[in-house]
Symmetry: C2
Subunit: 578 residues, 2 copies
């Protein structure tokens, strides 16, 4: 707000817009809880601890009030909801700012995808800040929809709400001084650069930290966390759907080091967001595990604001943005009222008031499934048509993990083609390039998906997000794949020529245009169908979506072929071509 | 340093330049003390906690090593030494970075004075950062040598080593929304703005903090400090020569709020710098008073670096500037070795190694005493030449304070002129405009200086730094004043036509061109002479230098006349003109 309005209100010469009376204010600066009123004008806190005249008063009757929670690192795409619906799910739980890395949509639609995320989140009560994806594409062993060079990123850096460079995943590139990696780092030298260095230690970690990335959210052990804290990294304790590290790391948080710690959710799927929560869930867990509540709230607010240099928020003080959460129990944090930019935006877990509906040009993120269906084939011809069986590399699923095993198995041959062997749970897997119409199809086999019939297909396939299909027979696979195409992106289960269940994800093939509750219902139905088809996995579609991620060990399949991740190179499907 | 050199050294593929072995590292991030080696290449720390090959090794034999100390707010001019000699005095004591506010030289020479301070400190082992003076001149009731508008400040903001806007002293201007005050604040909205709000409290403080200034170094009580911390201000505990607040404030520092606290020296005179020390002295006092040593070191390093957004220093970690202090006793901090930018720059309290001697164009800050001596007169004619006595307003000194009392006294008249009355300790006081040759002379009387004969004169006269002269007779005053002019600035004691002692301050009339030890010797001699002349004051020349400061109560004299500070207006010298 303008100082010409702020000053007379703060001085007490003009009334405030809103006075929150009888609050117990969580003072993240001093660690105190003070009984105080909070005065607000427009989107800004004007006074704390003094009574002001105001046009409206709300008596908080001794409830606590803390700054709005900040998620230090999140991929909104993982919620499968667009930012407006994501906001409606997380803000009522107390999150008023997220730093999102639009890495997924950028792999589909490049800079246009990032612009879409900024446009569609403009003016929301939830402040959506963007940290630019640093590694698009992840490698050149997969065909993504776009590439972002250092120059591209610099151009994006000037857009409003862009804060810096997101998780710098190309650790060897940076540590070994790859010119493109250095160009990105140098371009963001004066900005925030988030790190991404799972299990990195010793001299390589020193090189990595010293070169620029100053935070990490990939710690899995207290020892790893302490090593990183000692070198000056901020550590964000993560509790994602697929990577639950919070409880493991909490013992490493001390009074003395907590100022360098924060929370992040990274990737949380619809059911976890709805059933457990967002940053509020991490707060509850941390406090239940014994962390001092004020320390925990500081980690969810001021500390993250300090790391991202967000000097306008993260605390309850004059001049700061009036993002506030009212709650009743220190040891069971549940947002009862959430104020965003001075407006009551949620009450008792539900959005209230007017939320803008951003009207944006979504053409760049619609219709992103570009496949020549007539030319598509899942046939896997073998070198010698006379054989009845062939030895092949097979991706071995590890339940609930995104790493895989590198297996070698006998595959049956029918009419000169290697085919699925349902009884041995060896199913055909295809990754179909879907961005540029190259016609690339990577073909292979997967063990552990457990389907007894039919096929699953989806346009969510980290990180290049090509079309991934797995199934018992080529016909079912084609039905599922085409259904994804027809949806313009989505997740599908099919048997023969029948589509049994589907989750439309028309936005980039990654996000629905429906509320999170709808997505969750559709997902539940789809997962139920996959179970009916025989899959024992907790979430077979999500698991499928990581089989193309060529930077996570051990054996992965991209549209360009099978990748031995440890060797960082392609390997042939068949072991013995003799 | 360049990443292409940093990375191979940090990885361990190329040798470091220097390895500090067997150190006990003060880890300001985690609050731990760790036994570790510190590897350095060029000006940068490359590795901490691991052993590296290095071209040179120093075995610290278990001594402590902490980051170089940072002074959050200092007027180098108050040391009366130029930055190179100031650096030689403070760096050997562990200070490796100062944020200086060149407020004094700017009042003499404007932007050129600030440029001089930057130029003359370029390349020193001591990093001299400049916070731009926000209030030049302090008011329009005195004639300073320059004026700095918001536009002027913006132009200066782009110079290297400029960090933001210094102590924003115009509290009513800002709180009441004066357009020029707002213009300055708006111009530095995205930068660091230091505050200056002695005893400010309540709604005005809320308005002040919310409008921009985010730090304060003027707290004098724990209550004031807590109120400011709660509103989000960083508080710098000050121990200046004329304002000793450290011991009073230390009880307010807690584990929970200490991250928002730091240290500053503001104004320390030569003898205090040499006898007590600089930031190291504040550290010793704080620790002696019971503050946890690690907390104290954090306050002197990381916390201040965070406030000023100096992400390249304030901690011992890879990629940070190798500013390091080696010491032996946690509870009696004395720097034994000081590394600045990777180079050993001081040992056992003495500078070592090559210190650059900046060669600069000092023409803008030389020859700044511009007075038409022939036209100068200290005569104070009275309205009625027939009276023998006249009633006048007299400035009443308060020993060791810069506030004065507003007295009314009988002044003797000789030959139609009001004159000094030595027996009653009422001496004539003159403030001679010395920048622009306006011929302005403010005339009045002072009680409490105590001279029995002779006169004192000086070109240090806060904040406009006009020539201040006080004495028993006009002849002595003229001798002293002319001697200051002859020196091109300085402090002088004279009797009749004899100069008894002098401290040349040819740089802006504020700073010597000699080492601090020389200045101190000259000052001791001058003060001794003033004592011989009858003054009982601890430091009569310093006291004299504040008699023109028209923003500190109650009665002051500028080149334009007597100022009633509470009324914020001029008042006549004679009470009864009848």
């Amino acid at each position: 707000m303008k100082l010409t309005r702020f000053l007379p209100v703060a001085r007490g010469d003009e009334p405030a817009d809103l006075l929150l009376r009888n609050a117990q204010v969580i003072d993240v600066f001093t660690g105190e809880i003070t009984e105080a009123d909070v005065a607000i004008a427009e989107d800004t806190i004007v006074g704390v601890g003094l009574t002001y005249d105001a046009d409206e008063e709300i008596d908080l009757q001794g409830r606590y009030i803390c700054p709005g929670l900040i998620d230090a690192h999140v991929h909104i795409e993982s919620s499968m909801a667009t930012p407006p619906y994501f906001a409606r799910a997380v803000l009522p739980r107390g999150t008023t700012t997220v730093v999102t890395d639009p890495h997924e949509i950028a792999n589909v639609a490049g800079a246009d995808g990032i612009s879409y995320m900024l446009d569609v989140s403009k003016g929301l009560p939830l402040t959506v800040l963007v940290n630019l994806p640093s590694c698009v594409p992840a490698t050149h062993m997969a065909t993504a929809g776009a590439e972002l060079t250092a120059d591209d990123l610099v151009q994006l850096a000037d857009m409003p709400r862009v804060v810096g460079l997101a998780e710098f995943m190309n650790v060897p590139g940076l540590v070994l001084g790859d010119p493109q990696a250095l160009a990105k780092i140098e371009a963001f030298r004066d900005d925030v650069i988030d790190g991404h260095s799972p299990e990195l230690s010793g001299k390589w970690l020193q090189a990595y930290v010293g070169a620029g990335p100053g935070s990490d959210h990939e710690c899995t052990t207290p020892e790893e966390m302490m090593e990183k804290l000692r070198l000056g990294m901020y550590v964000f304790l993560r509790e994602a759907t697929g990577a639950k590290n919070l409880r493991d790391l909490l013992p490493a948080v001390t009074r003395e080091n907590s100022r360098r710690c924060g929370f992040c959710t990274d990737d949380r799927h619809p059911s976890d967001l709805l059933d457990e929560g967002h940053v509020d869930y991490l707060l509850r867990v941390a406090i239940a595990e014994g962390l001092d509540p004020i320390t925990a709230i500081r980690m969810a607010t001021l500390n993250v604001a300090e790391w991202f240099r967000l000097h306008d928020r993260g605390a309850i003080a004059p001049g700061r943005r009036a993002d506030l959460v009212v709650f009743s129990e220190l040891d069971d944090f549940h947002a009862e009222m959430v104020f965003a930019g001075g407006q009551l935006a949620a009450r008792q877990g539900k959005p209230v008031g007017k939320w803008p509906v951003p009207s944006v040009d979504a053409s760049a993120v619609r219709g992103t499934v570009n496949v020549d269906w007539k030319a598509l084939s899942f046939a896997v011809p073998v070198p010698d048509v006379r054989t009845e069986v062939v030895e092949a590399r097979v991706i071995g699923l590890v339940p609930d993990q995104i790493v895989t095993r590198h297996l070698v198995k006998q595959i049956p041959v029918r009419n000169g083609q290697a085919v699925s062997d349902v009884d041995r749970d060896i199913l055909k897997l295809a990754v179909v390039e879907r961005h540029r119409g190259t016609g690339n199809v990577g073909l292979g086999f997967v063990h552990g998906l457990g389907l007894r019939q039919g096929a699953l297909a989806g346009s969510v396939g980290h990180d290049a997000h090509n079309l991934i299909v797995a199934g018992c027979d080529d016909g079912s696979m084609m039905t599922a794949a085409r259904a994804v195409g027809k949806l313009g992106g989505g997740l599908v289960a099919a048997v023969d020529d029948r589509v049994l269940a589907q989750v439309p994800l028309p936005v980039g093939g990654l996000m629905s245009d429906q509320p999170l509750e709808t997505i969750r219902r559709q997902m539940d139905e789809l997962v139920g169908t996959a179970r009916d088809l025989g899959s024992p996995l907790h979430d077979p579609l999500i698991t499928l979506g990581f089989l193309a991620l060529e930077v996570i060990p051990s054996l992965k399949l991209t549209d360009q072929g099978l990748v031995d991740v440890e060797a960082f190179d392609f390997v042939p499907l068949f072991v013995d071509v003799g």
